[in-house]
């Protein structure tokens, strides 16, 4: 049973990491638009990336609710 729990935990960790990579891809494109001259994120870029993730999740939730309403 512990092995099963471990496998499930690992696989949900992998799913989250895959989602994080997808979201980073999208938000990096949206928020890092200037030419790259340093390896750090400017404060504005960091805020944008965080807001981008949260507003995308808002959009995602809204879309699911609208689709569920359509199905009824």
């Amino acid at each position: 049973k512990e092995v099963l729990a471990f496998i499930q935990q690992e696989s949900s960790k992998a799913k989250i990491q895959t989602s994080v990579t997808q979201f980073t891809d999208m938000c990096f494109k949206k928020c890092v638009t200037a030419d790259i001259t340093t390896g750090t994120l400017a404060a504005g870029e960091e805020q944008c990336v965080s807001d981008c993730l949260n507003r995308f999740l808002d959009t995602n939730i809204k879309v699911v609710q609208l689709l569920q309403a359509l199905q009824r």
Binding site: M26, D51, C52, R55, T59, N60, K62, V63, V64, L67
Partner: protein, 67 residues
């Protein structure tokens, strides 16, 4: 996310494509919340996308049957 729940039963590809298209179109500069304009845009965009989905679906099935 809630999307994972519906995804398995309905269609996760649809949820993803719709979310990405409408997020791109409606949220150009993400801020601390979805403002009223963005919120309305996401609703309208979703409705538009589903209408386009229906147009494509009908046209595709017609094309398949025709061949």
């Amino acid at each position: 996310t809630i999307s994972q729940e519906i995804a398995t039963t309905y269609a996760s590809a649809l949820v993803n494509s719709l979310s990405e298209n409408c997020f791109e179109k409606c949220v150009k500069a993400p801020s601390g919340s979805l403002d009223a304009t963005e919120d309305k845009c996401v609703s309208d965009c979703s409705a538009k996308f589903m209408r386009a989905w229906n147009v494509v679906s009908r046209a595709y099935v017609a094309r398949i049957n025709q061949q």
